[in-house]
Symmetry: C2
Subunit: 402 residues, 2 copies
């Protein structure tokens, strides 16, 4: 501790993932010191964290703050058998909603930050009907909730780029107005033009020097082909480490030859894969991808919206679901599932000062479990959440905010 860092809060007696029992000394928004338990100062606020696991806050790798229907009475799902039909169903519903994005998205932020999420990447629909209204709402949410969560925004062409002319221009404006990344969607399945779609979105990313996060549901060898196209463009534009592909079901649907060359291409381009542990479809095989050098992180995706009635944004439970789907049973595997909602997305999102060490930001979550693997297996709801050095939630309830 340097002298200009007066301790403001001590998280006392917490167990780390590594099994050490520590006092975490916080000064303002920052971790000032991590000391053996009992050695922290007692002349400042203290949180008793004995019998708790302490971890850095959860990092949400994929959410849609603008889509959620939270705050409204439960709305039955409108069946749509294809992605295109679901897009139309959502647009129809969107025109009738009694609550604006800011209200619904705000509810979702309050819900997930109470679970322990401290940073998130949200996609926001950009199309020629909604224009930039969703982006503007998210920018306001980002400001309104700056004390609870750090928000990264992906300008997401949910209705396609080629099939909805004018969208590319909107994406370009979106980046200028504050979106952090360019999105994309099924170049084949939605836009019917792999080259045209990818050329358009990569051009915008190149122009502004930003990364991309592309939704890809296209299946099997088609999706794998698109993944290799994305990897090649990533290298051509020097965007290694700045591109992610969300879902990429194809990686769970191809033979060894296709998998091998596709994983190799992704690893070479440092393209990361996001999975939400999907229910009805095959998912990217996490351990096989890791072994090939590909980063895989997790996210919630849809949370009670026109796409799905499921989901609550609890990333500890999401880690549990991903682990369950991937047969992660041993402690090391459960810990890896946890990393998929913490340190791995933190690296993908480029979050600085992430972790539990002096100088890192004091974004922490305390979990009622004896070990980290137990926390993943059981997903206990009894949590304490600290954001920017301040206690923000206990037992799933947000504290009053100023």
């Amino acid at each position: 501790m340097t002298e200009d860092m007066q301790p403001s809060l001590v998280v006392a007696g917490a167990r780390t993932a590594g099994g050490h029992t520590v006092d975490i000394v916080i000064a303002g928004e920052t971790i000032a010191a991590v000391l053996p338990a009992g050695q922290g100062p007692d002349d400042c606020d203290r949180i008793d964290a004995s019998d708790r696991i302490v971890a850095p806050s959860f990092v949400e790798g994929h959410i849609h703050l603008d889509k959620t229907l939270l705050g409204l009475p439960f709305i039955p799902h409108l069946p749509g058998d294809t992605v295109a039909l679901r897009i139309e169903a959502e647009k129809t519903l969107r025109r009738t909603l009694a609550l604006p994005i800011e209200e619904r998205g705000g509810r979702l932020i309050e819900q997930i930050t109470a679970f322990g999420t401290g940073s998130l990447r949200s996609h926001v629909d950009i199309d020629t009907e909604v224009g930039l209204a969703g982006l503007h709402a998210l920018l306001r949410l980002k400001e309104r909730y700056w004390d609870l969560v750090d928000i990264q925004i992906v300008a997401f062409p949910q209705s396609g780029v080629i099939t909805d002319p004018g969208t590319a221009e909107l994406l370009d404006v979106a980046i200028r107005e504050g979106a952090d990344l360019v999105g994309g969607l099924d170049p084949a399945g939605i836009d019917q033009d792999v080259t045209g779609h990818l050329d358009a979105i990569f051009a915008i990313a190149e122009r502004h020097g930003v990364g991309l996060d592309i939704h890809l549901h296209d299946p099997g060898p088609l999706g794998a082909f698109e993944l290799r196209q994305i990897a090649a463009r990533t290298i051509a534009l020097g965007l290694q480490g700045k591109v992610a592909v969300s879902h990429a079901f194809a990686l769970g649907q191809i033979d060894d030859f296709e998998f091998g060359r596709t994983a190799e291409a992704l690893a070479a381009a440092r393209v990361a894969i996001m999975t939400n542990g999907p229910g009805p479809v095959a998912m990217p095989p996490v351990r096989r991808l890791n072994a090939a050098g590909v980063t895989v992180f997790a996210g919630s995706d849809n949370i009670r919206d026109a796409w799905s009635p499921y989901g609550d944004g609890d990333l500890l439970r999401r880690a549990q679901l991903v682990g369950y789907r991937q047969d992660f049973l041993a402690d090391a595997s459960l810990a890896h599932a946890f990393a998929m909602v913490t340190e791995i997305p933190a690296a993908v999102l480029g979050i600085e000062h992430y972790g539990i060490a002096p100088g890192k930001r004091a974004d922490l979550v305390l979990l009622a479990a004896d070990t980290l693997p137990e926390a993943v297996a059981g997903a206990p709801l009894d949590r304490t959440v600290i954001k920017r050095g301040r206690l923000v939630a206990r037992k799933g309830m947000l504290m009053p905010r100023d």
Copy 2:
């Protein structure tokens, strides 16, 4: 209401799955009347159920009360790549446990009844090492917790019948001593003798006039062949409607021809299928099986035991998981997922007096949701549980018992 049924409790203002708001009048252990809200008597105990969905108690289709490690510190999973290796790992662990089955199983019963489970089917390991000790423990649990849950017991040859000589005789004794059904396990995968295994267990069932519930993990066309063998024996012995197969992953792993003839055989023999919505493997396609006339019900299976660190026995969340895995999105599908943990297993287990109607037993659960589909999608933990006409749990906590 007849005059000899004095109302003892009114569940007032509850919404049924069908959307009616009712007063449920209970006399002793029985539902005496279901009246329009406001018409129930007010001179007896009342539970305010306004803003609650009322449903009959959950029915657990598949659990292992003897296997759970609840009550012990979290025990890391011992990896085992095959079913046979996992069986050995479990036996090794079993010899060292500091808590007896009755303590661990009792904890599990208390946990799941607080979630809303009112009846269950538990398998119990029978082998030449453990003998009937597990059965005896479960029989004691059945007596000790008679007021919270109705227990049906399957004598389960976890180590095989042919490969563990003497087990068939133990299964026979188990039925005489109080087990309700004969179990089985992977006739090919474990016993390497489809005919020998099935002959042995069906002979015991025939001798005692009881049903069977057979674990089947064997994959693809092999598992499908075994399913047809089971169906044929079921018809030959007149056991239609009394046989279930648990897991039956094979049904999710075969082509249309194999699926068609296997589903047809199961339907003809009225063999029901139990699924827990497995994580890493294909699962039986619920709607396709239903369309072919096959009953599919749900269960929790392993709950923090040597087989899996996951699971908590919450059947509302299990319905959610099954629905998520099966892409059940629309209200009717979510309601079907709910039926898979209520009325469908109630019929499979042969539970009499099940449901919400005069004369049925007052085994009820109240859920904090506006509609039943919303309850499945969100799995709210705020519940009120009534068993045999008595309030037994609120908000996940059991009431003190006499």
